[in-house]
Symmetry: C2
Subunit: 230 residues, 2 copies
């Protein structure tokens, strides 16, 4: 669902991300993944991420949209928003942690202790830099729109000079990255298997509703295929 | 969907959270809410949160489950997990930011610039403390299970001494809190209203699939009402 990767070809196809102290979990290490295919897939199926940064020594976590172009993530926002301001002012950039999580199922075990979730998450550690190159800014903004609705950037009015001036774009390279995922049923202890409690998984997934045309829809417009295809 | 509030009665029913420098957004202030009803509603409809903390000066954001009891949020995990270890060691507690986000719709405007999301989010700033009181720990663990599947804690085996010893619980009081939400259709500029691009909202909501019984389901067990009711 991302824009066409621009830098993908410079990457060895099978080279995963190198694990670091920060990307090796302290527990459930068997759930960790470092291959690019898994990481990209989890990122590209997401609508939004949670972006963490440090402000006055304290953590801040904000939900925001993102786009991916190859091995780079882009985030945008008002030039007045806190993380974007901070990334622009920070030298050499703003340390961030960007996390994406898909919830896939509620895992009900016989024991309260073994209740869990099926999920797929990606955590990206790195430094965010403000993007100032006009061409990269336009590409980044297209990737943000297309990440949410593939094909939409080509079927809307591009940003004009005033809008571009009001928009800050920051980039975060995929370098220190890990995915973590849990699948399957509950893992009850052998001594609990006979307990009279139901056990299993309740699948969860985002579902799209019927598109709602704007009240001021331009006359004659019908719902595009790329919207009904969602 | 939360456990029965234990401390709710000590709160003035109409008293909202007091805005602070950290909880007043730098932009779109009309989308901010500070009333407890809105905040509790957003928290209680969520399955998981994104928890931010600072490690070695850098931000870390991890997805995790949470429970709510009145004006307190509970998070649990292995005693070996990083934020729980840090909260236990930190004196006087671990500064955290806990964020919950519901995505409600994709907002497609005629201009790329006015593309947006309908969402409801809650951001909680505060200090997390390790819970050591045995009764509060048990209540917190029940609230975590019931937050995901209301009624489930009473229909599963409670944690035993070994499991309790392996589980860390931290609490975060709802004090410095804000909600932020966007609803409605796209806000196109007047000069764009005649452009030949579809505009509108695509609703998004989590949907439950058919429950999948465990492969080793205890014979005779049928799917409970509180599961089919999801």
């Amino acid at each position: 669902m991302s824009a066409t990767p621009a830098t993908e070809t410079t990457t060895e196809p099978d080279a995963g991300y190198t694990p670091t102290d920060r990307t090796v979990p302290t527990r459930s290490r068997d759930r960790a993944r470092y291959d690019r295919e898994t990481v990209h897939s989890i990122l590209d199926q997401a609508y939004l991420c949670h972006l963490g940064f440090v402000r006055d020594g304290a953590p801040v976590v904000l939900p925001t949209l993102f786009g991916r172009v190859g091995e780079t993530l882009y985030i945008h926002g008002s030039t007045g928003s806190r993380p974007l301001l901070a990334a622009g002012k920070a030298d050499p950039g703003l340390p961030v942690c960007l996390t994406v999580t898909h919830l896939d199922g509620l895992v009900l075990a016989r024991s309260a202790f073994h209740h869990s979730m099926n999920y797929r998450s990606v955590v990206v550690h790195g430094t965010a830099y403000e993007v100032t190159d006009p061409d990269e800014r336009r590409m980044a903004l297209d990737s943000l729109v297309d990440h949410v609705v593939p094909g939409r950037s080509a079927d809307s009015r591009p940003a004009n000079a005033r809008e571009l001036a009001a928009t800050a774009v920051i980039r975060l390279d995929l370098d220190e990255v890990s995915a973590k995922l849990r699948t399957g049923g509950p893992n009850d202890d052998p001594e609990d298997l006979g307990l009279p409690f139901w056990s299993g998984v309740v699948p969860v997934a985002p579902a799209y509703g019927t598109p709602i045309p704007a009240a001021d829809l331009t006359p004659g417009m019908t719902t595009p295929d790329y919207v009904t295809a969602l």
